[in-house]
């Protein structure tokens, strides 16, 4: 009996030593559950020993990477410095792996190679936007624009829900309270470290690593902001875009309704001039609803400005304009209209015409909804070691099917350091 047990122990030991340790590292203020989905899949599928723990990530990158090194060493007493160990880090987790790489050497390093997934390698512009109050300012602007229509229509703002399951105050605060920005706000030191050009990131990026590395970057489809918020709030990337579309429809409906009422009141004013006051009121209400609708249309671009996935381009476009013939004399009611410029009436007043204009406009480029492509891609790697996952946002990439597909390709890459055989 003892022989049988001993034999079984030996077989198990041999099997274990044939497996490599894979350390799954979560991102800022996330937890050990972040990588559970693919940990479970690949632990069953591949010859790996998995290590998936929680780390203290809110006190800066170096504290987090120290925590990572300590945890690996403690959790893997016999193989904590095995050069076959592989790290896979999501978001700040990838930066932690790189910092651990920088701070260790061949004798005490905890892993021999690693994969960064949607990591802010060269900084997360959102960190700067949060710390400088730009996200909060954007949320305040959203609130002003989204409440303008309902307020002008005299709806009770506290009671009026925009659409089922989404109240107005939730929508206007969504840039700040969405399930992931809060996590960042609560980690000021890490935010400082993750800003572009921070000393922490400079130290990491000045280190020339010779370890095998792969950089996975994700890009989300439009609307990137509603999709990532949806992933945080609903666990999928389509629920919130659907709600946002309906909200937009409601705002557009009220906008068009008030324009229609303006036209009707304008006609009725011919019979009773008192109706023209109603035309003014409806016209004003229309403009207020349109503000909210415009904000919803612009919100992806505004969000992209906060996460710095916009660039400014000079663009020519045709805009149709119309010049009124009647002068609204500002002097006639000077007390009520300071600073109003008198109109200059041209010979083509009263006519519509297309005017070619140019403008420096804001144009988006790829991101995972939180990080631009340029910071996710680790520089200096062979082109084959930079992998794109399209259709996934920063949160979704942890469970997105294409992430599994790409990891599987990496593990199947025969002869590469990352090759990790399937279980027998």
């Amino acid at each position: 009996m003892k022989k049988i047990i001993l034999s079984a122990f030996l077989v198990l030991s041999i099997t274990l030593t044939a497996q490599r340790n894979v350390v799954w590292v979560h991102g800022l203020n996330d937890n050990a559950a972040a990588w559970r989905h693919y940990d479970d899949i690949f632990e069953e599928e591949r010859k790996i020993n998995t290590l998936r723990q929680g780390y203290t990530t809110s006190r800066g990158v170096e504290t987090a990477s120290t925590n990572l090194i300590t945890n690996i060493t403690n959790a893997l007493p016999n193989s904590g410095n095995d050069s076959d160990n592989m790290g896979i880090g999501h978001s700040m987790g990838g930066v932690m792996l790189r910092d651990a790489d920088r701070r260790t050497n061949a004798t005490n390093r905890n892993f021999g190679g690693y994969i960064t997934v949607a990591s802010p390698n060269y900084g997360a512009p959102i960190a700067d936007a949060i710390q400088k109050g730009k996200v909060a300012a954007a949320a305040r602007t959203a609130s002003l624009k989204l409440t303008a229509g309902p307020a002008a229509q005299l709806f009770g703002l506290t009671k009026w829900r925009v659409v089922a399951g989404l109240s107005l105050n939730v929508l206007s605060a969504i840039f700040l309270k969405n399930g992931f920005i809060e996590k960042y706000v609560k980690a000021p030191q890490s935010l400082t470290d993750l800003k572009e050009g921070s000393s922490a990131l400079n130290r990491i990026n000045n280190h020339n690593s010779n370890l095998p590395r792969i950089s996975i970057w994700a890009q989300e489809n439009s609307p990137v902001h509603w999709r990532i918020i949806s992933s945080a709030r609903h666990g999928n990337d389509h629920e919130f875009p659907r709600l946002a579309r309906n909200v937009r429809g409601v705002y557009n409906g009220f906008y068009k309704y008030n324009i229609g009422r303006t036209i009707i009141s304008g006609i009725l004013g011919i019979f009773n001039p008192g109706s023209w006051a109603k035309a003014v009121l409806h016209g004003y209400r229309a403009a207020q609803w349109k503000k909210g609708r415009n904000w919803l249309d612009d919100s992806e671009n505004i969000w992209s400005g906060l996460i710095k996935t916009t660039r400014v381009e000079k663009q020519y476009y045709w805009s149709k304009s119309w010049q009124p013939c009647d002068i609204f004399d500002p002097l006639s009611h000077e007390n009520h209209s300071p600073g109003i410029r008198p109109l200059r009436i041209g010979i083509d007043c009263g006519s519509w015409k297309y005017v070619k204009r140019h403008r420096y406009v804001s144009v988006n480029y790829p991101s995972d909804g939180l990080l631009p492509q340029y910071t996710q891609e680790l520089k200096g790697l062979p082109s084959g070691n930079v992998i794109e996952i399209d259709g996934a946002n920063h949160l979704e990439v942890l469970t997105h099917p294409k992430t599994g597909t790409e990891l599987r390709k990496i593990f199947d890459d025969e002869g590469s350091w990352f090759e990790t055989p399937e279980r027998d």
Binding site: T262, I267, V280, G283, D298, H333
Partner: protein, 295 residues
């Protein structure tokens, strides 16, 4: 009696009468038009940051809107999106959006429904429209107070010069003209509604109308610029309770036989979070105007 204006791109129009059976099924008022809207901003580009520019992109859109008002006070709206040439296209969406786009919106019975281009229902939401019994009453009163001929002319030509007496009477009710050392001053007789004349000349009259006349909860004040000869509203301004200008609107009318509203230009100063100010301009062009009264 049905007053019916159909104004297509060719600008022809017709007046039709329907049988009483048909009338019973018709809305009291129906309005349809195509609207092309251009949004733009005036500002000094060099003074703007990239984040600020991200909310100042120009845009354009075209829709066909149909609105029906019924005797019950119910109102229904259909909004259909239309593609058009020279649409302002800012390539800010590098990645495709594979979510279904709303092509048609229907609002009725306090519900808004969204449809895609294939007519499939995308979603519904509760959308409480205000009560329109006051509008129904206004229209019915108009039918009682004016001749079919007058109404017919307004509906079929959208011209109001023949009803200029209405405006004159309205102004007379408001104004006491006092001559004092050859200066003319205007004071309101109707202090209860607070409407005053700011300025008047041969062609225009400018009125100041506190909007609490319409609803006591509204504190804003409207200023109306009226073309007296055409009997048309041609400009408006809206002020808040502290006399801060909120919005200026100019209205333009078709120059042909049918002088329907075909231009709305709205100006509004917007303050960005940084405190910088930009001028927000919206141009709304209206075409294919149909208006039908079923009195």
């Amino acid at each position: 009696m049905v007053f019916f204006l159909v104004l297509s791109c060719t600008k022809d129009y017709t007046l039709r009468e329907f049988s009483s059976e048909v009338i019973a099924e018709k809305p009291l008022l129906s309005l349809s038009y195509k609207t092309t809207t251009f949004r733009d901003y005036n500002f000094e580009p060099s003074s703007m940051t990239e984040i600020e520019l991200s909310s100042l992109n120009p845009s354009s859109e075209k829709q066909e809107v149909t609105m029906n008002l019924y005797e019950t006070g119910q109102l229904s709206i259909i909004i259909e999106e239309i593609d058009f040439e020279k649409k302002i296209n800012i390539p800010h969406q590098v990645l495709p959006d594979d979510t279904p786009q709303v092509s048609k919106t229907v609002i009725s019975d306090n519900t808004i429904r969204f449809y895609d281009k294939n007519g499939s229902l995308l979603g519904t939401e509760h959308m409480p429209l205000p009560d329109h019994s006051d509008l129904v009453k206004t229209i019915n009163d108009m039918g009682d107070e004016h001749s079919d001929e007058d109404i017919n002319k307004v509906v079929t030509t959208m011209q109001g010069d023949h009803l200029g007496d209405n405006l004159e009477d309205f102004l007379k009710d408001l104004i006491e003209e006092k001559q004092d050392d050859n200066d003319f001053e205007y004071q309101s007789f109707a202090e209860s509604n607070g409407i005053t004349i700011i300025k008047q000349d041969e062609k225009h009259v400018t009125l100041r109308v506190p909007l609490n006349n319409i609803n006591p909860a509204i504190s804003e004040v409207a200023v109306l610029l009226i073309d007296k000869s055409a009997n048309k509203l041609v400009g408006t301004r809206m002020y808040d309770a502290s006399n801060k200008l909120l919005q200026t609107t100019y209205l333009g009318y078709n120059k042909g036989v049918v002088a329907y509203l075909n231009a709305i230009k709205t100006l509004e100063i917007e303050e960005l979070p940084s405190g910088k100010k930009v001028e927000h301009i919206t141009y709304t062009e209206i075409n294919d105007f149909d208006f039908n009264l079923n009195l």
